[in-house]
């Protein structure tokens, strides 16, 4: 697909008025029409695409490597030299998109022809290939030699300049399709994709059930609630701003980025369960409840707090739900039973406080346990804990928690905890003090 874009660019280059300047050049004893210098090509690319040298050089190299432009001197050196080296456009017949399968037979004929012309003087790798092909195509070898002789003879009948040009073109083509060892193989595009969707669109007739499904899906999408761009985009921008100082690539990190200075202190200080969490790290916990939970150190502190408030079972339940969802499939039944016994059964050791309706749904679901059977209860508890974590930041009654100390340190504003409550409420929309 991308080849199409390259071709468009090459076509522009070839435009007689706005393209690259070409002139007739003398090369050894023949005159070659429409030759250009590498320097001119690069200049043109820079001006046309408004980019800098290095990028233009890269593009130029690729255009040459793909065979759209070939060098007249030093044909094997497939880069675009930014000097007076000469280049020509390859004839469209030989462009990669034509997808002439570069067949072995054709290659054999080419090598044989070259052999005849150069009276046996071929490059080493070409000699090797020639011999291999000789063995492989032994059954056709007479045909190959005959074709080679024919083409050679036909070539001799042309004008010298034409013949030389054609020889250049052919040589460039084979340099791309049978690169010498060590040269980049640009024709290699990886694996074939299994299905070609373009094909399907033309030939596939959709059956009625495909349309039915589309209709169901589209109807569903229509009814889905959507948010105004300004709101959701605003959210994205806000996220970037909020995390700006936490992004090591953008603002660096203290004491230093280990990849730059070879010093792993940054990683040691921020180990998953470090003694003293850094200020930046604690600040991240205040961004959202999710951050607090996903950081092992934060979760640990939260657990301590909950324990003090005698509500540690909530976090334990939430963790049990996660374990059920992502754990071993074969243990689902026994895990579900365990959870019921520990958290949900009346009089359970660590009974969690959820509303009647949710409890009903959950208990019913547990009769046929599956990975997501605790989802409703888990969501409920998650929301509960989220509100509690807001509380955690405002509650001055927290004793020795370094969590709060670190946060106080962050902001010397005396109205700090009020600031935090306000901040939180605006982040997590419908949470207000009067619910629950």
């Amino acid at each position: 697909f991308t080849i199409i874009k390259v071709e468009a660019l090459v076509l522009e280059m070839q435009d007689p008025d706005t393209g690259v300047k070409t002139q007739t050049q003398r090369l050894v004893i023949t005159t070659i029409p429409h030759a250009m210098t590498g320097h001119d090509i690069l200049e043109w690319i820079i001006n046309r695409l408004q980019i800098l040298d290095e990028e233009a050089q890269n593009i130029g190299n690729l255009v040459v490597q793909y065979g759209y432009i070939y060098p007249l001197q030093e044909p094997k050196n497939i880069i675009l030299r930014p000097d007076g080296s000469l280049y020509r456009f390859q004839t469209p017949y030989f462009w990669p998109t034509q997808q002439w399968p570069a067949e072995e037979t054709d290659y054999a004929i080419y090598l044989a022809k070259k052999n005849i012309r150069k009276k046996g003087v071929l490059e080493d790798y070409e000699k090797e290939n020639y011999n291999i092909l000789n063995i492989r195509l032994n059954h056709k070898w007479d045909f190959v030699i005959m074709q080679a002789k024919e083409q050679y003879r036909a070539g001799k009948e042309r004008k010298k300049a034409d013949r030389v040009v054609f020889e250049f073109q052919e040589r460039a083509y084979w340099l791309v399709h049978r690169p010498p060892p060590g040269a980049p193989n640009v024709i290699d595009y990886g694996l074939d994709r299994f299905s070609d969707p373009n094909e399907n669109q033309v030939t596939q007739k959709k059956t009625f059930d495909v349309y039915r499904r589309e209709i169901i899906f589209n109807q569903h999408s229509l009814m889905k609630s959507r948010v105004k761009s300004s709101v959701s985009l605003g959210g994205i921008v806000k996220y970037c701003e909020q995390y700006f100082n936490h992004d090591p690539i953008m603002t660096g990190c203290l004491p230093s980025n280990p990849w730059l200075t070879d010093d792993t202190q940054f990683w040691d200080l921020n180990a998953p369960l470090s003694e003293v969490p850094t200020k930046l790290r604690v600040e991240r916990w205040t961004f959202s409840f999710r951050e607090l939970l996903s950081d092992p150190r934060g979760r640990q502190d939260f657990q301590l707090f909950l324990r003090k408030e005698f509500s540690g079972e909530n976090l334990a339940f939430w963790e049990a739900c996660e374990d059920l969802k992502y754990g071993d499939q074969s243990k689902v039944k026994e895990k579900a039973e365990e959870v019921y016994k520990t958290f949900l059964a009346p009089g359970a050791r660590r009974w969690i406080n959820i509303d009647g309706k949710t409890m009903d749904i959950t208990v019913k679901g547990l009769k046929h346990p599956h990975r997501y059977v605790l989802d409703a209860a888990q969501s409920h508890i998650y929301m509960l804990m989220k509100k509690v974590s807001v509380y955690i930041c405002c509650c001055v009654a927290l004793p020795s928690l370094r969590l709060l100390d670190a946060m106080w340190g962050l902001n010397k504003n005396p109205c700090f905890h009020i600031y935090l409550t306000v901040k939180y409420r605006s982040d997590w929309s419908p949470v207000s003090a009067d619910t629950d």
Binding site: F1, K5, L49, I51, N58, I59, L62, P184, L191, R193, F194, S195, D196, P197, N200, K206, T207, F208, D209, R212, I216, F217, N218, Q219, H220, S221, L222, K224, R226, V227, K228, S229, S230, V231, S232, L233, G235, I236, V237, Y239, C240, Y243, P248, I249, M250, N257, P258, W259, L260, N270, S288, R290, D323, G327, D328, Q329, S330, K364, V373, M383
Partner: protein, 393 residues
């Protein structure tokens, strides 16, 4: 920031067959029903009713699509770069290769970081999968797969295992052992079975579950221990090339991109497609969620990367330049989501300012296509793997 704790799909008794399953809200005419996926399928396969023909169904689908586009457009009141106007522009970035990992004998196809921020696993065309300590550039483990073109590899969240797969149509999990006498291949577990090549794989929140994407057009969720298929995801019309799991703690979704130019967002629980985006002009090679989980970026062979907003349900930015004419193979965000790193088939890496839509920097250095790119878990660096047999950090 949006906590995706509730999705439109819920659990409960199906309105049609009364069994308790994951439910979809569907609309028949204008009435809302809750059906389970099996009943939806059966409904879809009912024969043509009297007043329907193939073309009438087609028209109905087309009109709905147009209506959908209208609805989306109605809520589109501002462009991303307009909202981003108030944000300062970024200065010049100087990024250099800090580590080069040499050791693969052939094209590097895929890589993944370990949660410890310094180890990574990479896989290549010759079937070798290597675990490196990128910081010291030492190779720690090496496995030779029985197949070539290992296009997918992933590090387990615990750091104790790796998963990989490719032309063998399977995903295999290898536990990592430091015992020099043990042959890693001996403990290998074959987890996924597809009918075509494996293009991408990823562990969910634990070592026990793997999500895979394949050339046969499907994605699937597997239980590692038993190899059981937990959920399959059908909907792509062609090879699925990439996938990424939503970063939210309670998020149950993932996004996948394929050769049918579509990026689809799926619900892990029910196997249904929640959202679908079709604005690219060619195969989508890589998708990655924005760190908050509210958006995702995709990289495609049409030489552009696009940002899709999940809440507004539309494409909100295109990252392209006239001078970029080769396809983008891989994409990832920096930690704050401000920068987008993309690897291209023209051997370069472009760094984009996500909010403003402009290119911040272009990085050279690889001598062949950049095939894979990931930012490290703590955002201190990113690693790119290329067909020139090397990885650079």
């Amino acid at each position: 920031m949006c906590d995706q704790t509730f999705l439109a799909i819920s659990f409960g008794p199906c309105d049609k067959c009364v069994k308790t399953k994951p439910l979809m809200n569907i609309y028949i005419k204008t009435d809302q029903f809750n059906y389970c996926s099996l009943c939806v399928e059966m409904m879809a396969n009912e024969g043509l009713r009297d007043n329907e023909t193939l073309s009438s169904l087609k028209n109905e689908s087309e009109t709905l699509k147009c209506k959908l586009e209208e609805e989306r457009a109605k809520l589109h009141d501002v462009e991303l770069h307009q909202v981003a106007d108030r944000v300062d522009a970024l200065g010049q970035f100087v990024m250099k290769t800090r580590r080069t990992l040499k050791g693969h004998g052939n094209k590097v196809l895929c890589m993944d970081w370990c949660k410890d921020k310094r180890r990574l696993v990479s896989s290549s065309q010759d079937g070798k999968v290597i675990v490196w300590d990128a910081f010291t550039t030492n190779k720690e483990h090496a496995v030779t797969m029985p197949c070539t073109w290992v296009m997918a590899c992933a590090y387990a969240p615990s750091g104790c295992a790796i998963a990989c797969g490719g032309l063998d149509n399977k995903c295999s999990v290898y536990p990592l052992t430091f015992d020099k006498n043990e042959n890693m291949a001996a403990k290998k577990k074959s987890v996924a079975m597809h009918t075509n090549y494996l293009s991408a794989c990823s562990f969910t929140n634990s070592d026990m579950q793997i999500l895979t994407a394949s050339g046969d057009g499907t994605c699937a969720l597997w239980d590692v221990e038993s190899g059981q298929l937990l959920q399959s995801f059908h909907g792509h019309a062609a090879d699925v090339l990439c996938l990424d799991l939503a970063p939210s703690e309670t998020g149950n979704t993932f996004v996948s991109g394929g050769c049918d130019k579509k990026a689809m967002v799926w619900d892990l629980r029910s196997g249904q497609c929640i959202q679908s985006f079709e604005t690219h002009d060619s195969d989508i090679n890589s998708v990655r969620y924005y760190p908050s989980g509210d958006a995702f970026a995709s990289a495609s062979d049409d030489a552009t990367c696009r940002l899709y907003d999940l809440r507004a349900d539309r494409e909100v930015a295109i990252y392209s330049k006239e001078s970029i004419i080769f396809g983008a193979s891989s994409v990832d965000f920096s930690l704050s989501g401000r920068l987008l790193f993309t690897g291209y088939n023209d051997y370069t890496i472009n760094v984009w300012d996500v909010l403003k839509g402009t290119r911040v920097s272009i990085l050279f250095g690889h001598e062949n296509r950049v095939s894979t790119l990931r930012v490290s878990p703590d955002g201190t660096a990113f690693c790119s793997g290329s067909w020139d047999h090397t990885l650079r950090v």
